[in-house]
């Protein structure tokens, strides 16, 4: 039913966009990501960038391009892991990384000499971007597929096929924005996104553009927030336990609108406005016009088209005290903008009440402003137990480790 409604929406959009041509032949819907492009005034050949799917040798990684604040150093923690994205850490320190196109889950362990070993733990999955470890078990969420691998760190060389929990979670089957972010909550539940299967369209607001949580067995689905277009990064505040999430704004509304956003969920189930509003901006491409004051306002604007993805509160002690309980956010970088934006890691600074007081640069150097090229795309951050910060870089398949020394 829902699928039919989307098709109808796409059909309608295509008809509106090119009535003269469409009148004499069967309607061809615009691709989901392109709906709303016409009339945007944006460059006609803007299209998503694809990551490299083959191994990039260590010596070709852009380590020397990375710029960090005084006292911080970057090193290559793992490499040769094409398409590496969201990270999770096992009790024994194994870092697991999911991916999208290449369909793999990687496992990275530390050798006694401090170097790392990477394994391709799983392969052939459909965009296994959702990775979480809970009670020593690895959860992998691909599009419409949920797998659990028990005691994973004891089975890195032979993980088997896992326990299939797909039917219990009953996630939507739509591919567009159907890849998942997942993270354990302090209440023992699994928190994840359900993205909207289009750029902007009319859709079932109880099924899509949600943050949801489940018991780990897939039961007891609860809507934590609605009206969040596609979140690929969440974390719970270490003190207040409130859920925070990044969100990707829609495309083709202009170079500088709308912003990607950071959301603070104060009450389970509250409405954050998509497709109607981003903050106080009422989207003229939305299926209806609504008063934006009806909706929960974003905690911060993160920049237009930056693709704000993985985010974590800093809970370690290695970094200066000023970073404690602040949020590191990976901004993968724009495609739907004539000048590149993002391709970095920023810090959202919070005051004692949890209000965001500013967004500050942290990891820079991947965006070549002069030549409009990029050297890397940070997609996730992870705070290790020693307080160092891992940054997963998808374009060339590497994980960097950031340390601090006074």
């Amino acid at each position: 039913m829902v699928r039919t409604r989307f098709a109808a929406a796409g059909l309608l959009a295509a008809l509106c966009l090119a009535p003269a041509v469409q009148a004499q032949q069967p309607a061809a819907p615009a691709p989901a990501w392109a709906i709303g492009r016409e009339g945007s005034g944006m460059a006609a050949t803007l299209a998503p960038h694809a990551p490299r799917l083959t191994v990039t040798p260590r010596e070709q990684l852009p380590l020397s391009a990375i710029r960090l604040p005084q006292g911080f150093t970057a090193e290559i923690y793992a490499h040769g892991i094409p398409g590496a994205r969201m990270m999770a850490e096992g009790p024994n320190g194994t870092i697991f990384a999911g991916s999208r196109t290449i369909g793999r889950v990687y496992a990275i362990t530390r050798n006694p000499d401090g170097t790392t070993r990477t394994r391709t733990l799983l392969q052939g999955l459909n965009q296994p971007n959702g990775i979480a470890v809970m009670d020593g078990n690895l959860y992998v969420i691909a599009i419409n597929r949920v797998l659990r691998f028990d005691n994973i760190e004891q089975n890195l060389d032979n993980p088997g096929s896992g326990t299939d929990l797909t039917a219990a979670f009953a996630l939507p089957t739509e591919e567009h924005h159907g890849w998942k972010f997942v993270t354990p909550g302090p209440d023992g539940r699994l928190y994840m996104n359900v993205g909207v299967p289009c750029n902007v369209c009319d859709f079932d607001r109880d099924r899509f553009a949600l943050l949801v949580s489940f018991r780990p067995d897939g039961s007891d689905r609860r809507i934590e927030a609605r009206g969040i277009r596609n979140s690929v990064g969440m974390d719970h505040h270490p003190q207040t336990r409130e859920l925070w999430a990044t969100n990707n704004g829609r495309d083709w509304a202009g170079n500088d609108i709308p912003n990607d956003t950071l959301h603070r969920v104060r009450r389970s189930g509250e409405d954050h406005g998509f497709p109607f509003c981003v903050g106080d901006w009422a989207d003229p491409g939305a299926p209806a016009q609504r008063n934006c004051s009806e909706f929960a306002q974003p905690a911060a604007l993160l920049g237009p088209h930056v693709a704000a993805l993985g985010m974590r509160f800093y809970t370690g002690t290695m970094f200066p005290e000023a970073y404690r309980n602040q949020i590191f956010i990976a901004r993968r970088g724009s495609w739907n903008r004539e000048r590149l934006n993002g391709y970095d890691v920023v810090v959202a600074k919070l005051d004692a009440q949890g209000n965001v007081t500013g967004i500050e640069p942290f990891l820079e150097g991947f965006r070549d402003e002069a030549n409009q090229r990029f050297l890397g795309r940070p997609v996730d951050v992870h705070v290790m137990r020693d307080g160092s910060l891992l940054v997963a870089e998808e374009q060339y398949g590497a994980i960097y480790r950031i340390t601090y020394r006074q």
């Binding site: 990501w33 460059a43 083959t54 000048r339 090229r373």
Partner: protein, 202 residues
Amino acid sequence: MTFLRSALLAAALAAGALTPAAAQDAARGAALAEARNCAGCHGAAGISELEKIPSLAGQPAEFITLQMILFRENLRQAEPMNQLSQGLTDQQVEDLAAHFAALAPAPPPDLAPRDAALAERGQQLSASMNCGVCHLPDYRGRNQIPRIAAQREDFLRHTLAQYRDSQRRGTDTNMNAVMYGVPDDAIAALAHYLAHQPARAE
């Protein structure tokens, strides 16, 4: 169009990943292609003469690499390519890609005569479906996006139907969304129009 806007547009067209120093080697790729007899199906110069087998000459290297990885990882099912790609290293895949990317594109020798009405309809469809946005206005492709100008007509028909029917996807699901619900006769018109586009090299 103002100068500033032109400059912005030029910058946007150029924007992309700064690829590290090329690791691929077309000569090694040519030797490997010969050893594996790629020409047996894809043609001696990468111009296929077999039904539903694509021409590879002049395809963007990144596109060939992507497809070979999808075959090797069993993410795209198209025997015998899944079997043939097993065991290829990333380096070998990149070498093969460099080899085929360097060959001159051309239409197949058995290209059917052009049907003006069908081509006209295909052209209108291509315009309304924005094929040239990603594949570029002359359809030569770029990065992970294939060259479709002068591709075999039967292969284009087959592939477009596969995207429509969710039997295949690319680096993302854009083509599935583009082709959603497109009927066979529209696919035939698109394939005919594209197959008759000039095979310009870069």
